[in-house]
């Protein structure tokens, strides 16, 4: 940790703190000229004086001292460096020359290097949290490359809030040496990464980026959120083709062509990454919707259609079977609307019929879990507040918890047995998680409850489009494979 500091407001303190807090299993050497000890770790006046080999140097010294620090790393035989320090190409022409000099020096040492001007790197499986943000998401299958440190932070923060794990995060900064497309390729090879997400603002080496994407997407989904409006019409053109190219989003076209999943917002990025990491790919885009109440079903149907998903009519045998146990007012159509009829047993049987029907390759299930919502709704009720009835409330709640648990487990089991994605959306996603048994059950499988029908439909749309891409590159027709 070159530039470690004992002053809590400094980056050199925060990163050292996080390395320790994250329980990195190897030795950590703070480098600081004046201090003898920082945060209980023996400090060294120079890198040369540290004992033993060093795998990774985190550099947080002022900009003019970065190149000497890199040279020190070269002499010590350090394998890789993360250069946090800002004040390079992002500032101006003179600083850009400093960055070019830095790139040259790094290449001479043969080190791998991230940055400069970045937030840090994280590897949850290795318990390496060499980053400024005090975030420690659990270990998982999703990796992030981000050209913005704080966007990466938002994603990891959400992961912590929802119990979703990450494998690695790289804040790529100015990309003086290691470019975002090289990081994408690395995540493509990394056995701990199953889903790659990227926040990008600029990709100067467009063709290399395009080729890297094409190599990764056949194996792993790559989700891209592009920040910054595309520069339009800046090139001088003599043809209509040129003028129209200036107006259109070539970046988006290239991403789609290479099989990447394009998302619109941070929300979209997070939910779709969780979905890819936890749900099987559907064979086709045929979707069944099961809803507890009408409005959510209608909204889900609209959102599915907008996503290019198909809502086939209910097969006659499904209608016949549902007629056996549903109250007669049920919708008799897809979406299957129970119209608030029947108990959790009825919902469970309906879902099973829909998921197992060959007419559907994915199911959107709306209105899972009542217990946490019931607790929320009845917490200030004067009726249940009465001493005699508080116990009744507790009994009701524990029954609800029991049935929620059973139903959540059923959803997990049905998806496992059929290999079909089941995406559940419910208000329970918005209620506190401590005693939320549905959320807990979902978490155990890395799954999430979607806060609205829109989120579920959007994510299922991404799954179906990516599944189709995988089929196409194998030359399969829809529904094969």
């Amino acid at each position: 940790m070159i530039g470690a500091s004992a002053t809590p407001s400094k980056w050199g303190f925060g990163i050292l703190h996080n390395l320790i807090q994250g329980q990195f299993p190897g030795p950590i050497y703070p480098i600081n000229l004046k201090e003898k000890e920082i945060l209980g770790r023996k400090a060294y006046p120079s890198l040369a004086e540290t004992p033993g080999p060093v795998d990774l140097a985190v550099i947080v010294v002022p900009p003019e001292k970065v190149i000497p620090a890199v040279l020190d790393c070269g002499r010590k035989g350090v394998a890789a460096a993360v250069i946090i320090t800002a004040g390079f190409g992002e500032v101006g022409a003179e600083e850009m020359r400093r960055q070019e000099e830095l790139s040259r020096v790094i290449r001479q040492t043969g080190m791998a290097a991230i940055g400069p001007n970045c937030q840090g790197v994280m590897s949850a499986q290795s318990r390496l949290f060499a980053q400024f943000l005090w975030l420690f998401p659990p270990a998982g299958k999703i990796s992030i490359v981000s050209q913005s440190g704080n966007v990466g932070g938002s994603l990891m923060g959400r992961g912590m809030a929802f119990g979703i794990g990450f494998s690695k995060f790289v804040s790529s900064g100015n990309e003086a040496v290691t470019k975002c497309h090289e990081l994408l390729e690395y995540f493509g090879e990394d056995p701990e990464t199953e889903v790659v997400m990227a926040y990008l603002e600029g990709v100067p080496e467009g063709r290399a980026f395009f080729r890297a994407l094409k190599r990764v997407t056949p194996r792993k989904p790559v989700l891209i959120l592009k920040g910054g409006v595309t520069e339009a019409g800046s090139r001088a053109c003599a043809s209509h083709t040129g003028i129209l190219a200036g107006e259109s989003d070539l970046f988006a076209s290239a991403c789609r062509q290479a099989g990447a999943v394009l998302v619109d917002t941070l929300d979209d990025l997070f939910y779709s990454a969780v979905t890819f990491a936890s749900q099987p790919l559907p064979r086709t885009n045929r979707v069944g919707i099961v809803t507890w109440g009408g409005g959510w079903g209608v909204l889900a149907a609209d959102a599915c259609v907008r996503e290019g998903l198909c809502l086939p009519a209910l097969p006659a045998e499904v209608i016949a079977e549902l007629n056996e146990f549903l109250p007669s007012r049920w919708s008799h159509n897809n979406p299957v609307d129970l119209a608030a009829g029947g108990g959790p047993g009825v919902l469970s049987r309906t879902l099973e019929l829909m998921v197992k029907s060959p007419a559907f390759d994915g199911v959107v299930q709306l209105g899972i879990g009542i217990s946490s919502f019931l607790r929320f709704m009845t917490q200030s009720s004067f009726f249940f507040g009465h001493a005699d009835r508080a116990k009744v409330r507790e009994t009701l709640l524990s029954m609800a918890v029991e049935s929620d648990k059973k139903f959540s487990e059923k959803v997990m089991r049905l998806s496992r047995e059929t290999g079909k994605p089941i995406l559940s959306a419910s208000d329970t996603a918005s209620t506190p998680s401590e005693d939320n048994v549905v959320m807990q059950t979902f978490r155990q499988e890395g799954k999430i409850i979607y806060p609205t029908p829109f989120h579920a439909a959007r994510c299922l749309g991404h799954l179906a489009r990516y599944a189709r891409f995988r089929q196409k590159i194998k030359g399969e027709k829809p529904g094969q494979g």
Binding site: H240, S253, Q257
Partner: protein, 228 residues
């Protein structure tokens, strides 16, 4: 490619329609049957060979806007019309022509555009969309980075809003997507193999009643390093 080298040597910034189509045809893009002639007599002979009606167009590298210069004559039905058209074109051109193009008159109500650009970020990219006057009015186009696979070509046809133009419609056969895909792939290849080619417009690319596509007009823009 000899054609390109010659044009670059002459510091041309574009290829003439005839040369543009020669280049496209050598990559398998279907183009109109046409001849470059230098006399009215020759024009009449070639018109008879092609079969009436025919089209006559003034042809020169510097002639980028043929309609505006009034050097295009459509639907010429006989030798007399061809002779008159030849004379008018020569008079209107106001510049030295390579010659006059005698071209088959392609019939088809469905006009498409295909093209190539060299993007600063992604290099050669291929365009597909609605052609003719609709190119500028509706701007309904899609792009792919070269090289294109057949799948990419088919997807870009499916991506435009007006994609129904490619289906069977009022007695017209569906578009020959196979040939269209080959044309799009070919444009990408030209872009990859010839860095001197900066942009290409093929507009219109007409779909005949049979669904067969034919490049009716084409413009190749050259990257002429010396001219800046």
């Amino acid at each position: 490619m000899e054609l390109l080298e010659k044009a670059l040597k002459k510091k041309q910034s574009t290829l003439s329609e005839y040369d543009s189509k020669q280049l496209l045809q050598s990559y398998g893009v279907p183009v109109t049957r046409e001849y470059l002639v230098r006399s009215a007599k020759e024009a009449v002979a070639k018109a008879a060979e092609l079969g009436y009606p025919v089209v006559l167009k003034g042809c020169a590298a510097a002639l980028a806007h043929k309609t505006e210069s009034d050097v295009v004559r459509l639907a010429l039905a006989d030798a007399k019309a061809v002779r008159r058209a030849f004379k008018e074109i020569k008079a209107n051109a106001g510049m030295k022509l390579d010659g006059v193009l005698v071209q088959e008159m392609v019939k088809g109500q469905r006009e498409l555009v295909v093209g190539l650009i060299r993007d600063a970020q992604f290099g050669p990219c291929v365009m597909f969309g609605l052609g003719g006057i609709y190119t500028e009015i509706l701007r309904d186009v899609s792009f792919r980075v070269a090289p294109l696979e057949k799948r990419d070509a088919l997807e870009m046809m499916d991506e435009i809003k007006g994609k129904k133009i490619l289906d069977a419609f009022r007695g017209m056969e569906p578009a020959d997507k196979e040939t269209l895909a080959q044309a799009l792939i070919a444009l990408g290849e030209i872009g990859l193999q010839h860095p001197q080619v900066k942009e290409i417009d093929v507009n219109p690319l007409i779909l005949k009643k049979s669904g067969e596509p034919v490049a009716v007009d084409a413009l190749v823009v050259l990257e002429n390093a010396k001219k800046k």
